[in-house]
Symmetry: C2
DNA sequence: TTATTTTAAATGCATTTGCATGTATATGGA
DNA sequence: TCCATATACATGCAAATGCATTTAAAATAA
Protein backbone atom coordinates (compact mmCIF):
# COMPACT_ATOMS: atom_id res chain seq x y z
CA UNK A 1 0.00 0.00 0.00
CA UNK A 2 1.18 3.46 -0.79
CA UNK A 3 0.35 6.73 0.82
CA UNK A 4 -0.77 9.33 -1.68
CA UNK A 5 0.16 12.87 -0.93
CA UNK A 6 -2.97 14.94 -1.02
CA UNK A 7 -2.69 18.64 -0.66
CA UNK A 8 -5.21 21.39 -0.20
CA UNK A 9 -7.17 22.41 -3.27
CA UNK A 10 -6.71 25.87 -4.75
CA UNK A 11 -9.63 28.26 -4.85
CA UNK A 12 -10.11 27.68 -8.57
CA UNK A 13 -10.29 23.97 -7.98
CA UNK A 14 -12.89 24.42 -5.28
CA UNK A 15 -14.93 26.73 -7.48
CA UNK A 16 -14.90 24.23 -10.32
CA UNK A 17 -16.02 21.53 -7.91
CA UNK A 18 -18.83 23.61 -6.48
CA UNK A 19 -20.04 24.64 -9.91
CA UNK A 20 -19.99 21.02 -11.00
CA UNK A 21 -22.33 20.19 -8.13
CA UNK A 22 -24.63 23.15 -8.69
CA UNK A 23 -24.82 22.96 -12.45
CA UNK A 24 -25.49 19.25 -12.26
CA UNK A 25 -28.22 19.59 -9.69
CA UNK A 26 -29.91 22.41 -11.55
CA UNK A 27 -29.75 20.82 -14.97
CA UNK A 28 -30.67 17.34 -13.80
CA UNK A 29 -33.67 18.56 -11.84
CA UNK A 30 -34.87 20.46 -14.85
CA UNK A 31 -34.54 17.51 -17.20
CA UNK A 32 -36.00 14.97 -14.79
CA UNK A 33 -38.94 17.27 -14.18
CA UNK A 34 -39.63 17.44 -17.88
CA UNK A 35 -39.77 13.65 -18.02
CA UNK A 36 -41.99 13.44 -14.96
CA UNK A 37 -44.35 16.03 -16.31
CA UNK A 38 -44.69 13.90 -19.44
CA UNK A 39 -45.28 10.78 -17.30
CA UNK A 40 -42.20 9.16 -18.73
CA UNK A 41 -39.72 6.87 -16.95
CA UNK A 42 -36.63 8.26 -15.21
CA UNK A 43 -33.55 9.29 -17.10
CA UNK A 44 -31.55 6.19 -16.32
CA UNK A 45 -34.07 4.06 -18.18
CA UNK A 46 -33.32 6.09 -21.27
CA UNK A 47 -29.61 5.49 -20.94
CA UNK A 48 -30.12 1.78 -20.53
CA UNK A 49 -32.57 1.52 -23.40
CA UNK A 50 -30.15 3.43 -25.61
CA UNK A 51 -27.26 1.13 -24.72
CA UNK A 52 -29.39 -1.92 -25.41
CA UNK A 53 -30.58 -0.48 -28.68
CA UNK A 54 -27.00 0.14 -29.76
CA UNK A 55 -25.92 -3.35 -28.86
CA UNK A 56 -28.70 -4.86 -30.99
CA UNK A 57 -29.63 -8.51 -30.96
CA UNK A 58 -26.50 -9.76 -29.31
CA UNK A 59 -27.58 -7.82 -26.24
CA UNK A 60 -25.62 -6.44 -23.37
CA UNK A 61 -24.55 -7.92 -20.05
CA UNK A 62 -25.55 -6.18 -16.83
CA UNK A 63 -21.92 -5.76 -15.83
CA UNK A 64 -21.27 -3.93 -19.07
CA UNK A 65 -24.05 -1.48 -18.30
CA UNK A 66 -22.60 -1.11 -14.85
CA UNK A 67 -19.26 0.01 -16.26
CA UNK A 68 -20.73 2.16 -18.99
CA UNK A 69 -23.18 4.00 -16.75
CA UNK A 70 -21.05 4.05 -13.61
CA UNK A 71 -23.81 2.67 -11.42
CA UNK A 72 -23.42 0.18 -8.56
CA UNK A 73 -24.12 -3.46 -9.32
CA UNK A 74 -27.21 -3.70 -7.14
CA UNK A 75 -28.52 -0.50 -8.63
CA UNK A 76 -28.38 -1.92 -12.12
CA UNK A 77 -29.89 -5.16 -10.88
CA UNK A 78 -32.90 -3.38 -9.39
CA UNK A 79 -33.46 -1.09 -12.35
CA UNK A 80 -33.37 -4.01 -14.76
CA UNK A 81 -35.92 -5.79 -12.62
CA UNK A 82 -38.31 -2.85 -12.93
CA UNK A 83 -37.67 -2.35 -16.61
CA UNK A 84 -38.31 -6.00 -17.32
CA UNK A 85 -41.53 -5.83 -15.33
CA UNK A 86 -42.51 -2.80 -17.39
CA UNK A 87 -41.89 -4.87 -20.52
CA UNK A 88 -39.07 -2.77 -21.92
CA UNK A 89 -36.38 -5.43 -21.96
CA UNK A 90 -35.96 -9.17 -21.95
CA UNK A 91 -33.27 -11.32 -20.43
CA UNK A 92 -31.85 -13.93 -22.76
CA UNK A 93 -29.70 -16.91 -21.91
CA UNK A 94 -26.01 -16.29 -22.15
CA UNK A 95 -24.35 -19.11 -24.08
CA UNK A 96 -20.80 -18.98 -22.83
CA UNK A 97 -21.46 -17.83 -19.29
CA UNK A 98 -24.03 -19.53 -17.10
CA UNK A 99 -23.88 -16.75 -14.53
CA UNK A 100 -24.87 -14.07 -16.94
CA UNK A 101 -27.65 -12.89 -19.16
CA UNK A 102 -27.98 -10.95 -22.36
CA UNK A 103 -30.25 -7.95 -22.08
CA UNK A 104 -32.23 -7.10 -25.17
CA UNK A 105 -34.61 -4.22 -25.71
CA UNK A 106 -38.16 -5.24 -26.58
CA UNK A 107 -40.29 -3.53 -29.20
CA UNK A 108 -41.95 -1.61 -26.40
CA UNK A 109 -38.49 -0.62 -25.18
CA UNK A 110 -37.50 0.74 -28.57
CA UNK A 111 -40.74 2.69 -28.77
CA UNK A 112 -40.42 4.08 -25.26
CA UNK A 113 -36.87 5.24 -25.81
CA UNK A 114 -37.93 7.10 -28.93
CA UNK A 115 -40.85 8.62 -27.08
CA UNK A 116 -38.61 9.67 -24.23
CA UNK A 117 -36.29 11.42 -26.66
CA UNK A 118 -39.07 13.69 -27.83
CA UNK A 119 -39.10 15.12 -24.32
CA UNK A 120 -35.52 14.49 -23.27
CA UNK A 121 -33.93 16.08 -26.35
CA UNK A 122 -35.77 19.37 -26.06
CA UNK A 123 -35.14 19.37 -22.31
CA UNK A 124 -31.40 19.13 -22.93
CA UNK A 125 -31.69 21.91 -25.44
CA UNK A 126 -33.59 23.98 -22.93
CA UNK A 127 -31.19 23.46 -20.02
CA UNK A 128 -27.89 23.36 -21.89
CA UNK A 129 -28.36 24.39 -25.51
CA UNK A 130 -29.88 27.76 -24.73
CA UNK A 131 -27.25 28.51 -22.11
CA UNK A 132 -24.07 27.58 -23.97
CA UNK A 133 -22.97 28.38 -27.49
CA UNK A 134 -21.74 25.43 -29.58
CA UNK A 135 -18.15 26.42 -28.87
CA UNK A 136 -18.88 26.70 -25.18
CA UNK A 137 -20.59 23.31 -25.18
CA UNK A 138 -17.60 21.80 -26.90
CA UNK A 139 -15.21 23.39 -24.44
CA UNK A 140 -17.31 22.24 -21.50
CA UNK A 141 -17.42 18.68 -22.76
CA UNK A 142 -13.67 18.64 -23.25
CA UNK A 143 -12.93 20.07 -19.84
CA UNK A 144 -15.30 17.73 -18.06
CA UNK A 145 -13.83 14.84 -19.96
CA UNK A 146 -10.52 15.54 -18.26
CA UNK A 147 -12.13 14.71 -14.96
CA UNK A 148 -12.69 11.14 -16.08
CA UNK A 149 -9.04 10.42 -16.73
CA UNK B 1 -49.84 29.65 -20.35
CA UNK B 2 -47.35 29.92 -23.13
CA UNK B 3 -45.88 27.23 -25.32
CA UNK B 4 -42.12 27.33 -25.41
CA UNK B 5 -40.50 26.34 -28.64
CA UNK B 6 -38.01 23.65 -27.88
CA UNK B 7 -35.84 22.32 -30.64
CA UNK B 8 -33.52 19.41 -30.91
CA UNK B 9 -30.14 19.78 -29.25
CA UNK B 10 -26.98 19.88 -31.32
CA UNK B 11 -24.38 17.16 -30.89
CA UNK B 12 -22.13 19.51 -28.93
CA UNK B 13 -24.95 20.27 -26.58
CA UNK B 14 -25.63 16.59 -26.03
CA UNK B 15 -21.96 15.89 -25.44
CA UNK B 16 -21.73 18.65 -22.87
CA UNK B 17 -24.80 17.23 -21.14
CA UNK B 18 -23.47 13.69 -21.10
CA UNK B 19 -20.10 14.77 -19.82
CA UNK B 20 -21.80 16.76 -17.10
CA UNK B 21 -23.55 13.60 -15.94
CA UNK B 22 -20.44 11.42 -16.16
CA UNK B 23 -18.00 13.85 -14.64
CA UNK B 24 -20.38 14.54 -11.81
CA UNK B 25 -21.03 10.89 -11.07
CA UNK B 26 -17.35 10.03 -11.16
CA UNK B 27 -16.18 12.93 -9.07
CA UNK B 28 -18.99 12.72 -6.56
CA UNK B 29 -18.53 9.00 -6.01
CA UNK B 30 -14.86 9.53 -5.44
CA UNK B 31 -15.35 12.32 -2.92
CA UNK B 32 -18.21 10.61 -1.10
CA UNK B 33 -16.15 7.46 -0.84
CA UNK B 34 -13.32 9.38 0.76
CA UNK B 35 -15.72 10.67 3.41
CA UNK B 36 -17.21 7.23 4.01
CA UNK B 37 -13.81 5.66 4.35
CA UNK B 38 -13.03 8.21 7.04
CA UNK B 39 -16.36 7.48 8.76
CA UNK B 40 -17.49 11.05 8.24
CA UNK B 41 -21.01 12.30 7.49
CA UNK B 42 -22.21 12.75 3.91
CA UNK B 43 -21.25 15.72 1.81
CA UNK B 44 -24.49 17.59 2.25
CA UNK B 45 -23.87 17.84 5.96
CA UNK B 46 -20.68 19.71 5.19
CA UNK B 47 -22.50 22.17 2.98
CA UNK B 48 -25.08 22.82 5.63
CA UNK B 49 -22.54 23.18 8.42
CA UNK B 50 -20.57 25.60 6.29
CA UNK B 51 -23.61 27.72 5.57
CA UNK B 52 -24.52 27.78 9.25
CA UNK B 53 -20.97 28.67 10.20
CA UNK B 54 -20.98 31.57 7.75
CA UNK B 55 -24.28 32.88 9.06
CA UNK B 56 -22.95 32.92 12.61
CA UNK B 57 -25.09 33.53 15.66
CA UNK B 58 -28.06 34.97 13.81
CA UNK B 59 -28.49 31.58 12.22
CA UNK B 60 -30.13 30.52 8.99
CA UNK B 61 -33.67 29.55 8.13
CA UNK B 62 -34.35 26.15 6.58
CA UNK B 63 -35.92 27.77 3.53
CA UNK B 64 -32.72 29.73 2.98
CA UNK B 65 -30.71 26.53 2.97
CA UNK B 66 -33.23 25.10 0.58
CA UNK B 67 -32.60 27.88 -1.91
CA UNK B 68 -28.88 27.98 -1.42
CA UNK B 69 -28.34 24.24 -1.75
CA UNK B 70 -31.09 23.57 -4.28
CA UNK B 71 -32.61 20.76 -2.27
CA UNK B 72 -36.32 19.98 -1.85
CA UNK B 73 -38.05 21.25 1.26
CA UNK B 74 -38.70 17.83 2.73
CA UNK B 75 -35.11 16.82 2.02
CA UNK B 76 -33.77 19.71 4.07
CA UNK B 77 -36.29 18.98 6.79
CA UNK B 78 -35.14 15.39 7.13
CA UNK B 79 -31.44 16.17 7.00
CA UNK B 80 -31.80 18.82 9.68
CA UNK B 81 -33.61 16.30 11.84
CA UNK B 82 -30.66 13.90 11.61
CA UNK B 83 -28.06 16.60 12.11
CA UNK B 84 -29.82 17.89 15.20
CA UNK B 85 -30.03 14.36 16.57
CA UNK B 86 -26.30 14.03 15.91
CA UNK B 87 -25.77 17.20 17.92
CA UNK B 88 -24.33 19.31 15.11
CA UNK B 89 -26.95 22.04 15.08
CA UNK B 90 -29.58 23.60 17.29
CA UNK B 91 -32.91 25.14 16.38
CA UNK B 92 -33.53 28.50 17.94
CA UNK B 93 -36.77 30.42 18.17
CA UNK B 94 -37.40 32.81 15.35
CA UNK B 95 -38.50 36.16 16.76
CA UNK B 96 -40.38 37.66 13.87
CA UNK B 97 -41.79 34.51 12.33
CA UNK B 98 -43.59 31.95 14.43
CA UNK B 99 -43.52 29.41 11.64
CA UNK B 100 -39.77 29.38 11.35
CA UNK B 101 -36.61 28.60 13.21
CA UNK B 102 -33.06 29.82 13.22
CA UNK B 103 -30.52 27.09 12.69
CA UNK B 104 -27.23 27.51 14.48
CA UNK B 105 -24.19 25.29 14.38
CA UNK B 106 -23.14 23.84 17.72
CA UNK B 107 -19.57 23.56 18.90
CA UNK B 108 -19.62 19.94 17.79
CA UNK B 109 -20.87 21.12 14.41
CA UNK B 110 -18.02 23.56 13.99
CA UNK B 111 -15.54 20.87 14.95
CA UNK B 112 -17.07 18.30 12.64
CA UNK B 113 -17.05 20.62 9.67
CA UNK B 114 -13.38 21.33 10.21
CA UNK B 115 -12.68 17.64 10.54
CA UNK B 116 -14.59 16.90 7.36
CA UNK B 117 -12.55 19.45 5.48
CA UNK B 118 -9.34 17.59 6.25
CA UNK B 119 -10.73 14.78 4.13
CA UNK B 120 -12.99 16.70 1.79
CA UNK B 121 -10.39 19.25 0.71
CA UNK B 122 -7.78 16.70 -0.31
CA UNK B 123 -10.50 14.65 -2.02
CA UNK B 124 -11.44 17.66 -4.15
CA UNK B 125 -7.80 18.16 -4.94
CA UNK B 126 -7.47 14.52 -5.89
CA UNK B 127 -10.55 14.38 -8.13
CA UNK B 128 -10.42 17.87 -9.64
CA UNK B 129 -7.15 19.58 -8.77
CA UNK B 130 -4.95 16.90 -10.25
CA UNK B 131 -7.03 16.68 -13.41
CA UNK B 132 -7.44 20.35 -14.29
CA UNK B 133 -4.88 23.15 -14.34
CA UNK B 134 -5.84 26.35 -12.51
CA UNK B 135 -6.80 27.94 -15.82
CA UNK B 136 -8.86 24.93 -16.77
CA UNK B 137 -10.60 24.94 -13.39
CA UNK B 138 -11.38 28.59 -13.82
CA UNK B 139 -12.75 28.04 -17.31
CA UNK B 140 -14.81 25.08 -16.13
CA UNK B 141 -16.31 27.04 -13.28
CA UNK B 142 -17.22 29.90 -15.60
CA UNK B 143 -18.78 27.66 -18.20
CA UNK B 144 -20.79 25.69 -15.67
CA UNK B 145 -21.92 28.92 -14.10
CA UNK B 146 -23.62 29.79 -17.37
CA UNK B 147 -25.89 26.80 -16.85
CA UNK B 148 -27.34 28.40 -13.75
CA UNK B 149 -28.55 31.52 -15.51
C1' DT C 1 -61.92 42.88 11.68
C1' DT C 2 -62.57 38.38 9.36
C1' DA C 3 -61.86 35.40 5.48
C1' DT C 4 -58.65 33.84 1.95
C1' DT C 5 -54.37 32.85 0.22
C1' DT C 6 -49.56 32.13 0.68
C1' DT C 7 -45.47 30.57 3.02
C1' DA C 8 -42.66 27.64 6.47
C1' DA C 9 -41.90 23.37 7.97
C1' DA C 10 -43.15 18.48 9.25
C1' DT C 11 -44.79 13.90 8.28
C1' DG C 12 -47.28 9.33 6.62
C1' DC C 13 -46.63 6.22 3.25
C1' DA C 14 -44.71 4.12 -0.82
C1' DT C 15 -40.63 3.69 -3.53
C1' DT C 16 -35.78 3.65 -4.02
C1' DT C 17 -31.16 3.14 -2.43
C1' DG C 18 -27.13 1.37 0.20
C1' DC C 19 -24.82 -2.18 2.46
C1' DA C 20 -23.82 -6.54 3.32
C1' DT C 21 -24.36 -11.04 2.08
C1' DG C 22 -25.93 -15.07 -0.61
C1' DT C 23 -25.95 -18.12 -4.67
C1' DA C 24 -24.14 -19.85 -8.67
C1' DT C 25 -20.86 -20.24 -12.30
C1' DA C 26 -16.17 -19.54 -14.02
C1' DT C 27 -11.24 -19.32 -13.67
C1' DG C 28 -6.63 -20.42 -12.26
C1' DG C 29 -3.67 -22.83 -9.76
C1' DA C 30 -1.80 -27.25 -7.22
C1' DT D 1 -8.62 -33.58 -11.17
C1' DC D 2 -9.84 -30.87 -6.99
C1' DC D 3 -9.67 -26.74 -4.45
C1' DA D 4 -9.37 -21.91 -3.75
C1' DT D 5 -10.49 -17.62 -5.51
C1' DA D 6 -12.79 -14.44 -8.46
C1' DT D 7 -16.74 -12.86 -11.07
C1' DA D 8 -21.84 -12.22 -12.19
C1' DC D 9 -25.95 -11.28 -10.40
C1' DA D 10 -29.72 -11.26 -6.77
C1' DT D 11 -31.70 -10.05 -2.35
C1' DG D 12 -32.94 -9.08 2.88
C1' DC D 13 -33.03 -5.41 5.61
C1' DA D 14 -32.24 -0.76 7.13
C1' DA D 15 -31.94 3.96 5.72
C1' DA D 16 -33.00 7.64 2.64
C1' DT D 17 -35.98 9.81 -0.76
C1' DG D 18 -40.15 11.40 -3.29
C1' DC D 19 -44.82 12.65 -3.20
C1' DA D 20 -48.74 14.28 -1.28
C1' DT D 21 -50.72 16.18 2.50
C1' DT D 22 -51.00 18.42 7.03
C1' DT D 23 -50.30 21.97 10.48
C1' DA D 24 -49.47 26.42 11.77
C1' DA D 25 -48.38 31.08 11.16
C1' DA D 26 -47.87 35.07 8.07
C1' DA D 27 -49.55 38.12 4.45
C1' DT D 28 -53.18 39.92 1.72
C1' DA D 29 -57.91 40.97 0.57
C1' DA D 30 -62.48 42.08 1.55
Amino acid sequence: MYISIMTKPTSHTVKAWIMLLKAHRTALTSVENALKKAKLPPLIWYDILLELERSGDKGLRPFQLEKELLLPQYGISRILERMEKAGYLSREMCENDGRGQRLVSTEAGLKKRAEMWTVYGPAIEETVGTKLSPDQSKATAELLNLLLK
